[in-house]
Symmetry: C2
């Protein structure tokens, strides 16, 4: 009863077979009990047969599936629709879904969609399209239930029964005054549990949180999660109610934003398509900029090594520990940076916490550094010197390596925790300051410390 | 009207002032209009004054704040409660919140909580506590509205009005038969839009998705997001309805799981406390295991360098490019692995896609490798040779470096995309196969390729 997983191949085969044998009634019976998201996932593999599947479904379910399809397939379907079919689908869609679709379509398809939407819908679409891409306005819907303060519960329920079918949610209703200013809200639960002759103004919640059309959509989505709301009202600058954001859209936004953050942390330019749907060139374009930049930054580490060439020639054994020092430094730095970046995006850490964070990382860094050094010293002496009989690994060399390790770990933790907070402060995205970027910096630092130690202790 | 951000310091000062001057009425007026989550966030900084703030709030709001506090403060408060106070708070809490609290408390506090819960609540708590930590059963609530198939809409609404106040949600109601088997569900919207004498069995949705108590809670949370549901019914192995999972809990689960994934990808052992609340030793413990393991794995890279010591002594210039090759390889590997790991956790990529993924990464890897190599060749010739007058950087040396780069990038992409999928297949957590782990492997590979090329081309 739960999800496609495992049954996917089997179902696809069945669908292909039904189509091949023109057993459309059977196909319809197979699809009818399925969730729209699952049908859409299957359609992803059906190519041009999608149109056929689509026409078998009842209008409402067809529209739900349509919303879940990816934009290439939506475009394909719209191209294949007659005008009547297009109008029918559009009539079934919620406003915010229509806007999402319009945003992804090429100009000629958009024109056709707008032409076949009813005038009120067209106006709303155009309004929402005006909001910037990452704003709350761009994900809101204008299909909400509004009530007046002086209505009775009975009148309110009547209004909900009349207008409800076209609204995205009736679980929360919004109370506005004559100037459309938001003055309160009311859950359907409160309404149902109240007496018929109670007045809305008396039972509505006057303390509520609202967001503005231009607020960042991630902030809005996080607020919904934080306060456990099912919807948040969106107001304009004069506090007039213009729309609502529902929890399902908030979940989508959060998922996208997390993926974006993770991609940025891995030095990838974010794209919004699923991996397997992205072309080679697109993936290449998303990955090459940071690779190039970071490769060129690594020039500095090369320069540092070059300038200590003589020291390395005298003590060739030192070269063998460069990768270990760089990797450990990089790992320590990314542990700190990733923790802080996640803390920032969950609003657990702010710039004003900088010194608390630094103080904490200093102590953690020192502890980690000492433990790693001690372990490394034992390893150098027991394994490299005694087991592998490498006479070059003297206790003095081990001291240089382990001393460097303590300082590298310490610096890596400091750099790792500071950069994301500084980035945030100057308005950069903290996620960009993650592992790869910090690794490059920490590499240079660790090599400088290494050669400094070597020069002093080994007297090169 | 929106969130604390920016006003936090100011509010805290005001609260401290009111408390110092014993202006409790003003303090109450300040807090009353605020959301529970915000008050709880402020309480985090108030230490033992929390109890005072808590007692000023009306019962219902106080309980809401209590749920949002972190577990240390909840414990502190419970210790300070009289038995009557404890009972009052417990009566206001939803079952799933109580269970969350019980899970975090030490044994003596749990005993006290159970003692003061009413018998039915106690039984439910004990039942939910039995489910494993990551299971759906452990996050569900048993406070849902259940209806019978033969009820009329009028009777159903009456039942909701009667039992609704104690239920976590009334937005979706569940229809069960006499054996408590789940046979359908019904949104409050459908119920409100129906006629009074319609029969539930005729208007309920018979095609629905349910989850089982032992299903993984992340899978359940993702399903809620995927299908845009407000709640999912949870059934036992005999399809008897035992609880529901609501969207707000699903959002919390997803947020925790994402944080865990991100931590694992950065070679951190996940903890569930916010960064600033975690002690130095705890943070140390979370970070040191992987650091140690990865440091020791880096021994291999050291061994590889040692065994090519003579080659490096003859061509010391080769050492200077080791960091660049290692870092670029590491970055390429983590780009691929992180993309695939995220794809797996969003159910976009499955093990059966292995060959599609490999084929894609091979092509992306080759393209990236060639472009990076070309850029690097230009840089070696123009900057290192001409600008820095390094005569050691001959075109042949550049050829070795750039040739290695192409192969390293190619291998890094392959390893990066393959390991997470293999990990998933054998039941490991793919996230653990991220950057640090793959970097260590890619380092060894890139050095082997490097020295192989050097030996062949430079004839060492």
């Amino acid at each position: 009863m739960f999800e496609l997983e495992g049954k996917r191949e089997e179902l696809l085969e069945k669908i292909e077979e039904y189509i091949a044998r023109k057993r459309y009634a059977d196909l319809r019976d197979l699809l009818l009990p399925m969730e729209a998201a699952d049908i859409a996932a299957l359609c992803g593999e059906l190519d041009e047969k999608v149109a056929l599947v689509f026409r078998l479904l009842p209008k409402e379910q067809a529209a739900e599936v349509f919303v879940e399809l990816d934009s290439d397939q939506q475009e394909l379907l719209i191209q294949s629709f007659s005008n009547t079919e297009l109008k029918e689908v559009l009539d079934e869609l919620y406003l915010d879904d229509t806007v999402d679709i319009v945003e992804e379509m090429p100009a000629n398809v958009v024109k056709r969609i707008l032409k076949h939407s009813d005038p009120e819908m067209r106006k709303s679409i155009n309004e929402i399209l005006k909001y910037p891409d990452d704003s709350t306005g761009s994900i809101m819907t204008t299909e909400f239930v509004d009530l007046k303060e002086d209505m009775t519960v009975e009148a309110a329920l009547k209004r909900i029964r009349r207008t409800g079918p076209d609204k995205e949610t009736i679980n929360v209703c919004y109370v506005i005054d004559d100037g459309r200013h938001l003055i309160g809200l009311l859950s359907i639960r409160t309404l149902l549990l109240a007496e018929d002759d109670d007045v809305i103004g008396d039972i509505m919640e006057r303390n509520f949180i609202s967001v503005q059309t231009l607020d960042d959509q991630e902030t809005t989505a996080r607020a919904l999660g934080k306060y456990d709301f099912l919807a948040l009202p969106v107001v304009d600058q004069e506090n007039r109610l213009v729309g609502i954001v529902t929890v399902d859209d908030a979940m989508d936004v959060l998922q996208e934003e997390v993926t974006e953050d993770i991609e940025k942390m891995a030095a990838i330019v974010p794209t919004d398509k699923p991996y397997l749907k992205t072309g080679i060139f697109e993936t290449f374009k998303a990955r090459i900029p940071w690779l190039l930049l970071l490769m060129i930054s690594a020039t500095f580490t090369g320069q540092i090594i070059s300038s200590f060439e003589n020291a390395l020639a005298a003590f060739t054994v030192l070269t063998a520990y460069i990768p270990m020092l760089m990797d450990t430094g990089g790992n320590c730095g990314s542990q700190a940076s990733v923790t802080v970046i996640r803390g920032i995006s969950l609003n657990e850490i702010e710039f004003s916490d900088l010194f608390r964070v630094i103080w904490k990382e200093m102590r953690v860094g020192l502890t980690c550094g000492i433990v790693l050094s001690a372990a490394n010293f034992v390893k150098l002496m027991l394994i490299d010197r005694m087991l592998f009989h490498n006479p070059m690994v003297t206790p003095t060399v081990a001291l240089v390596v382990c001393g460097t390790l303590v300082f590298t770990v310490f610096c890596a933790k400091l750099v790792g925790c500071t950069l994301p907070l500084l980035a945030k402060k100057i308005g950069f995205d903290p996620a960009v300051m993650a592992s790869p970027f910090i690794t490059t910096i920490v590499d240079a630092i660790s090599l400088l410390i290494y050669f400094q130690f070597a020069t002093v202790i080994l007297g090169i």
